[in-house]
């Protein structure tokens, strides 16, 4: 299996040569004085302005993106322990103003909270809810976890999505992998707090997931630049082109390994909290060139936009457009890109 993985990876990475062409286009655009002035005004790297100008071709749109306000806080009701109605009632009595989300049945938007932190609420400590962004909550349902036999959640972090999967399916095992021990400890505590009995935490490099398979569902919330989280305090880092593409190889490696671990028929959801084309369309397009039996299925998410077909000197096959892109300045959600792949 390891040699098969290495072969596929070698083939896939050849297609990443297009990044050289893209780099030239981005740097050329970034060197223009008007874009440099705009970058300085926005407090970002000129490469970033260039990349988003390549994406939209509209300076006003670029400004709106970089000046987007943070989306409102939201929480995920833990339906293993309580109902949405009950939690709304309990928290309302404590002065927390909540609004139900149209997008996620167990998502609540926090309009007002008299406490310094939502985590200070007793209901949080009792495991009745988890603090999670709405866009992040949209990812798990695409996996159709209710029908899953065994799920893998790669780069699971502290387990927000692992525990959400368990909420949909409290019986089937969820193998949550991460290489960071501290995050796995956080996951272990969240599982305890939320009353989740079916998550198995594994400390390993998620690129080795093919060793642990097969799985009929795989979720990759890939390590990324987090450009979609820019509006949040402390997340707006200036990023050069090199910085953005530094994770692309890792993302391709994760996706190749995940597809090898997926049984047939199986569903893989690839998601990033990034709006960078390099980390999404390019990664999917690259891997589809070596996996011919994978179908891209449009996610059933009622908001957002489809993915991009053309980006500077790059153009992508038609099915690569079948994803969901969410933007802070358009949908008022964290920036996210979500792909659903089905292995036939």
């Amino acid at each position: 299996m390891a040699s098969h993985y290495n072969t596929l990876l070698r083939l896939a990475k050849k297609h990443l040569e297009v990044l050289k062409k893209l780099r030239v286009a981005v740097k050329e655009l970034a060197s223009k004085s008007e874009l440099q002035a705009l970058a300085k005004k926005l407090g970002v790297h000129a490469d970033q302005v260039a990349r988003y100008y390549l994406l939209w071709g509209d300076e006003d749109e670029v400004v709106r993106f970089f000046q987007a306000k943070p989306p409102p806080k939201s929480i995920r009701v833990n339906t293993l322990k309580t109902s949405v109605d009950e939690l709304v009632e309990r928290l309302s009595r404590k002065g927390v103003k909540l609004r139900r989300s149209d997008l996620v049945p167990y998502g609540l938007i926090v309009e007002e909270c008299p406490y310094t932190s939502l985590a200070a609420l007793h209901e949080y400590l009792k495991g009745m809810f988890h603090i999670q962004g709405l866009a992040s909550m949209l990812v798990v349902p695409q996996l159709e976890p209710e029908k899953a036999e065994v799920v893998a959640d790669l780069c699971c972090g502290a387990g927000g999505k692992s525990t959400q999967i368990a909420q949909h399916n409290p019986s089937s095992p969820v193998l949550a992998m991460d290489c960071n021990e501290r995050k796995l400890l956080a996951l272990k505590l969240h599982a305890s707090r939320l009353g989740v009995y079916n998550v198995v935490a594994v400390k390993d490099d998620a690129r080795r997931v093919y060793v642990y398979g097969p799985f009929d569902r795989v979720l990759i919330d890939a390590p990324c630049t987090g450009e979609g989280l820019r509006p949040f305090p402390g997340k707006a880092k200036p990023r050069s082109f090199e910085d953005v593409v530094s994770r692309v190889e890792l993302q391709v490696e994760l996706l190749v390994s995940a597809l090898l671990a997926l049984s047939r028929p199986g569903i893989l959801v690839y998601a990033t909290c990034s709006t960078a084309v390099e980390e999404n369309e390019l990664v999917i397009s690259t891997v589809l060139k070596v996996f011919k039996n994978v179908e891209v299925v449009e996610p059933s998410i009622p908001v957002g936009e489809r993915c991009i077909a053309e980006y500077g000197p790059l153009s992508f096959e038609g099915e690569v457009e079948l994803c969901r892109r969410l933007y802070p300045h358009k949908q008022g959600l964290e920036g996210f890109t979500i792909y659903k792949l089905v292995l036939q």
């Binding site: 985590a119 200070a120 007793h122 400590l125 009792k126 495991g127 065994v150 409290p170 019986s171 089937s172 095992p173 193998l175 021990e181 501290r182 796995l184 400890l185 956080a186 996951l187 272990k188 505590l189 599982a191 305890s192 707090r193 009353g195 989740v196 009995y197 079916n198 998550v199 198995v200 935490a201 594994v202 400390k203 390993d204 060793v211 642990y212």
Partner: protein, 186 residues
């Protein structure tokens, strides 16, 4: 703690027996509960003299058994960590995870606290007499060494405590509370 030095497997009889006895102090039938919930108790033996007990769905145990070789070196945890025992099973330490199993199933060995006492307890502090609503004692002298289950007026578990007298007044000494999930700094 962290990586389990010995792979978690279904707990041996003497461990299950010790746990069942501990849970029965609170009026809960552990064996009945785990059967109803399709839960398996898994034990991992640490290098020292403890056994770490996890409660996980049956299918988790099946997965661990099927993929034993690949998971042997990398398994971090499975299900909910509910207890720690000495290897002989003489001393059972019920953890925060055990509260999950006990939720809605306990009938004795608990104290109900109210008002400011709840806040204080969840901050890791002891609870004074004026915040104690009521107590339901253990019904066996064998249970007297166990901590009491501390809950709020909704009978929702908040943690573990010990009943003591301080300055002639009843006090619930904090042993472990749900606030630890935040204070532990992870």
């Amino acid at each position: 703690m962290l990586l389990l030095s010995k792979f978690p497997k279904p707990c041996p009889y003497h461990v299950v027996e010790a746990l069942a006895k501990a849970f029965s102090c609170y009026g809960m039938n552990l064996l009945k509960t785990i059967k109803e919930e399709n839960i398996e108790l898994l034990c991992a033996f640490t290098p020292k003299y403890y056994v770490e007990v996890f409660a996980a769905k049956n299918r988790v145990h099946e997965l661990l058994a099927q993929r034993y070789e690949v998971l042997l070196e990398t398994l971090f945890s499975a299900g909910i960590h509910i207890a720690r025992l000495t290897r002989e099973g003489h001393r059972v330490i019920l953890l925060l995870g055990a509260l999950e199993l006990l939720r809605g199933r306990f009938s004795r060995g608990y104290v109900v606290i109210k008002g400011k006492g709840v806040k204080a307890f969840l901050y890791g502090r002891d609870v004074l007499q004026e915040s104690i609503e009521c107590m339901e004692p253990f019904d066996s002298s064998e249970c007297l060494g166990n901590p009491v289950l501390v809950c709020d007026e909704k009978k929702e578990p908040l943690g573990w405590g010990r009943v003591a007298k301080k300055g002639g007044r009843l006090t619930i000494l904090n042993v472990l509370d749900l606030g630890w999930y935040l204070r532990c700094g992870v």
